[in-house]
Symmetry: C2
Subunit: 708 residues, 2 copies
């Protein structure tokens, strides 16, 4: 019988018995089938068997009550440790029965488990849960009571591989404990990683294993042993079949984002109506394709011929923008489908967001039946600037660029539009996802991945409908384009009842944190950070290495910038002696050599220019953080111009390394920052930490993509 068959037969037996968790020996058999090492264990059904088996299992041993009715053995007095002889074992057996009898007088006792005690090594936890968003997850955490309190645990999608398992082992806060502390030898991390992989494979192979706990696992220099094992079952769980047909998604999204023909259902000539705003925005935005207002009676709206139905339009249509009340939407989808329209943009609200789940389900069913993709409902619409498409009732937006943004909320969408305009952020697309009845972040990622106009993707997310799908796609997309996510609703709302330790540790946000990280996503901590990252990541080129140099006119800024480097995992380059000498030739003797390079505050433009040139031209410097200090000797615009010239010269020679600048000074620095931004040099007034955070985001992405 194969290992999988062994597990299958054990689970079938448990299902037949109506069990919600596996009996200890069955769980151990399952573990054995997947090479999860556990100590020698036997089940004794009566006092004679206890006496017989004790010697066989070996000392010291632990006795644990075996009963499907008792989940928390320790609390019930159902565990006695440190037994060193058969006589002690017999005595402990009696005690165990008395303890448990006092706690659970009605519990059916299957016997007691005798297990050889392990010692030595560090306690860790390995487990698995079934997450409503991400499906099967494998967990790794430090063990012991303190870390349980501190919640030091991380997650990966199951199944996972050795490399990811090793990454899990390294990324918990108490990771160092496994390197050997207080004279202990280092733990065998490869063995631990094996166990993580085995657990992740087991729960992937058997979806009915809802939760699994190896707690604790003793990790020592010669291996890993799970001294307690719990397997919880939920036979209602089944394997989620991946239904993603990326070719079809891409084809549909291509038509939706770059439509040749657009119908506006509920177009209106009346000012103030949504159907009017959408028409105006399409026209004012400069959309060049076919534009077909649909209206039961009107013959012409804003200079465009009207049709009573999309069926009447004598041309191909790619999207239909719905500007009609919620209750009419489903009815129109049939003719939209019949016309071969790829996407319905559902602006109207009045669906799930106000509790009208049935109405939304009806619309989704109609769309599926008619092979129409849905965007929304309850959205502001979307923009695709490179196609001059403003399919929205908001305002036209035309600053073309490389950032694609999406938001689940309309308010955040408006913030995106306002910030983009204000900060002159070039945008390829802004998409409202609203209720996400169909099109969601996965679909957008699949489209933007191959969209030549998009180089950075930023998303405001309140929840993921299919977290696993998102993570799988994001893992691939982030290898070529940075994906920034602002995950709103971070704070755990309502503690869910969890019957395993791993389950209890799997707070919503902790899982999102780990899986977004695994997916290579850069997580923004605030709305502003999402927007700044989006803008900055398109401007900054990819660094060729980890050597970051700070060059500053203000020592005080240098300190703040260095602080920020550490906070953002940036590596201050160890200054090569020859380069140090080269800087010294330009800066006063009391300027600080090393890194930060402090050229001091009283220097003329030539000092800035010379040291910036050095930094740009030396190949060992991979990224440059500039600290400018407003002085009369080198005023803000003089600095901006000399920096602009130096960068232009370098770029013309093919040198393009990431540069961020922090400008401190009087209000004139704002103009200098604008001047630099217009030249694609990222500069911030009155800020030290923000430019470094943006550079940090670029590095985080580049590392994840294997580019640095």
């Amino acid at each position: 019988m194969s290992n999988q068959d062994r597990v299958r037969s054990i689970l079938d037996k448990a299902r037949a018995q109506g069990r919600a968790s596996l009996a200890t020996l069955d769980a151990l058999d399952v573990a054995a089938a997947y090479n999860i090492p556990c100590p020698p264990t036997s089940l004794a059904r009566n006092v004679d068997e206890v006496s017989d088996l004790a010697d066989q299992v070996g000392y010291p041993l632990v006795l644990k009550i075996e009963s499907a009715d008792i989940l928390h053995k320790t609390d019930a007095g159902g565990v006695i440790t440190g037994i060193n002889s058969a006589a002690q074992a017999v005595e402990a057996y009696g005690q165990l029965l008395r303890n448990v009898g006092a706690h659970h007088s009605n519990a059916v006792i299957d016997g007691v488990v005798l297990q050889k005690m392990c010692s030595g090594g560090q306690e860790v936890i390995i487990g698995a849960v079934t997450d409503p968003v991400f499906g099967k997850l494998v967990a790794f955490g430090a063990g012991g009571i303190l870390v349980e309190l501190l919640g030091d645990v991380t997650f990966r999608l199951a199944p996972t591989d050795q490399a990811q398992a090793q990454a899990m082992i390294s990324e918990i806060k108490a990771a160092k404990i496994l390197d050997g502390v207080r004279g202990q030898p280092a733990a065998d991390k490869a063995a631990l990683a094996e166990v993580i992989c085995s657990v992740s494979q087991l729960v992937s192979d058997f979806p009915e294993i809802s939760e699994l706990d190896l707690n604790p696992v003793f990790a020592s220099s010669d291996g890993a042993t799970a001294v307690d094992l719990r397997i919880l079952l939920d036979f209602s769980l089944t394997r989620a079949a991946s239904q993603r047909d990326e070719t079809a998604i891409r084809a549909a999204m291509e038509r939706i984002m770059r439509p040749a023909g657009v119908a506006v259902i509920g177009a209106s000539a009346e000012d103030g109506k949504i159907g009017n705003s959408v028409m105006r925005n399409l026209i004012d935005g400069g959309y060049k394709g076919g534009l077909y207002p649909i209206h039961p009676k009107a013959t012409e709206i804003l200079g465009h011929k009207c049709y009573a139905s999309v069926a009447d339009v004598p041309a191909e249509i790619d999207i239909a923008i719905f500007c009609i009340p919620a209750r009419f939407v489903a009815g129109v989808l049939a003719e939209v489908g019949a016309k071969g329209i790829a996407g319905a943009i559902l602006i109207p609200s009045g669906f799930a967001e106000i509790g009208e789940h049935e109405l939304q389900a009806e619309v989704v069913a109609a769309a599926r039946a008619n092979n129409v993709r849905l965007m929304g409902p309850n959205i502001y619409g979307f923009y695709y600037t490179h196609h001059n498409l403003c399919a929205t009732f908001c305002t036209p937006y035309d600053q073309k660029g490389a950032v694609a943004l999406s938001s689940q909320s309309g308010g955040v969408g408006m913030a995106i539009i306002g910030f983009s305009r204000s900060a002159k952020m070039g945008v390829s697309a802004i998409v409202g996802l609203g209720n996400k009845s169909d099109i969601d972040e996965d679909d957008l990622l699949i489209f933007f991945e191959q969209d030549p106009n998009t180089s950075v993707i930023a998303m405001h997310v309140e929840d993921l409908k299919d977290g696993r799908g998102f993570a799988e796609v994001a893992q691939r997309v982030t290898k070529t384009k940075p994906v920034v996510v602002l995950k709103a609703g971070r704070t755990a709302s309502g503690a869910k009842a969890a019957s395993s330790h791993t389950g209890a540790l799997a707070g919503d946000d902790r899982v999102y944190e780990a899986i977004l990280k695994q997916s290579g996503v850069i997580r923004a901590r605030s709305l502003n950070e999402m927007l700044e990252f989006a803008r900055g990541l398109t401007i900054l080129p990819t660094p060729k290495g980890e050597n970051v140099l700070i060059l500053t006119g203000a020592g005080g800024s240098g300190v703040l910038l260095a602080d920020a480097c550490i906070d953002n995992d940036l590596t201050l380059m160890t200054m090569p002696p020859d380069l140090d000498e080269a800087y010294k030739a330009f800066i006063p003797p009391f300027g600080a050599s090393g890194n930060p390079v402090d050229i001091t505050g009283g220097e003329p433009p030539s000092t800035y220019a010379a040291t910036i040139d050095l930094s740009l031209n030396d190949e060992r410097v991979h990224a440059l953080i500039l600290g400018y200090w407003h002085t009369i000797i080198t005023p803000p615009m003089v600095f901006a111009e000399l920096l602009g010239n130096a960068v232009e010269k370098a770029r013309s020679k093919g040198i393009d390394k990431p540069i961020v600048a922090s400008l401190v000074g009087d209000v004139e620095i704002e103009e200098a920052c604008r001047y630099l931004l217009d030249r694609n040099i990222l500069a911030y007034p009155y800020e030290a930490e923000k430019p470094v955070a943006v550079l940090g985001a670029k590095y985080k992405w580049a590392r994840g993509a294997g580019l640095v």
Copy 2:
């Protein structure tokens, strides 16, 4: 003999013996004198004594080698635990001597210590250190190997009291462990706090105790026992006498900040010279007092009569602004002192910051000898706006207000000036502290504390010369005025940059963190946060309670704002049913009731106005967070005006609760935010988290001051 005398005699003996640490029994005697509970312990000098004493001490016991030459007993094999009989003790004794002999063949062995083993309870660490910045500190941390790795420890100035000791116990990350976990009873926190207080008193009474370790302490339900105790000695340490004469400081600072007469030493008629810029700024800034340029030859500069020396000026002078090269400063201080001038403002650089420590020491000595306070050297000068005083070579600054700012670095000072001007932040003073050869943050706190023009103090700090003095003053000042500190040099490499900048060593950040917190200081995490907190704290009134309400037009903003509330320790009010009903009367049925109150996006101005009125007028709502979403129905300026009117009406009725607003939308929201700020309503465009962080800072201060 009193307890103090007992300790004194033990320390005297150790000093006579030239010891750097106390012998175990002496340390135990010291502990006993200060009621620090330790287990029964005896010293055996030979095998017979071991045999005799074992029964007396009681089992199980531990044997530890006693030798002044062996600091790390465990590493030397000098500790054997779990001894249960005299025979085992004798055997262990032999083993101990062999182990230690192998490690330290030359160690002088004083015997072995027999100690009753403790068990049960949680391991914690209590200790004390002598910090170069803050002096004697008491430490409390979670014990065990994991938390040692995680560095879960906090500090207070020693001596400390029960309340602070209890706060220490509550603020470590693993605090919950003492509340009883896994069925264990809660630890006796009062007993733990007693030990913390005793340790803090002991090291305060005896400065020569340089470090003290109780590691571990077993904290159980019936008390706390220190099972290992180490006392390190440094007889070069003496009690630092507090030399602060606050009356004298206040008097001098009053004259310096609001001078009736100002001399400019090195005044110049030549454009571009610092002595010229300072003269111009004083004049252009509108300074109304006596202004006396000092110049060896000139008769008049910029319309003001010149003098060759301050001695020649026929009027009283309060400050002398030095605009002469470093090497001439000390020489002039004698006549400055003779003239009775209170303060010398030392703009010149060329002192400690470039390694010229002797030159700086000379200047300090000259100032002390002549009873002159020094500001700087190496500074941009300072502003005191309410006196129209711009004693600086930068630009005049005249936006009068209630924020006093200081910076150690000139660059950061310029950022303060620029941000203040750009953000229209009203300022009372901006002070450059530079090398802090004399006047430092303590002096400024003492002045600003009683300055009627200042209500918030914000400081950029790279190092504190006298951290203890700062903490003591700040503890008092923060009870009436918020103090915001941006501590630069937080990280290892940040600290390195700090030392190359000012020649000062930055302290350990964990210590700064704890002591600033103890002092009631609000710590800013970035330059921008310091500036925003400074501005916001003057605008926001003090809340009357913890009930925070979010009222939003955008559900998406509501989620971000709620996230930010949790991140900033704000309490979302539990909505009273009657108030919930009152809101419901104004908002659509699908709007979210509860908190956040989501009025939904499509609402007219009247809905905003009615719900804002409700929130302002209900006494149970103590602070209000508004989320505005730009729509055509309620455009930004309409919202701004209705909010402005509502707040004005409420203020006229004496209702003034903190309000912050997050505006999301197109660029018009920037104008709306400016409009609101002009009316003292804190509003931010494209930001959700920042307004909440500022409100959080206000709450943090108010809680620390006991006002909420």
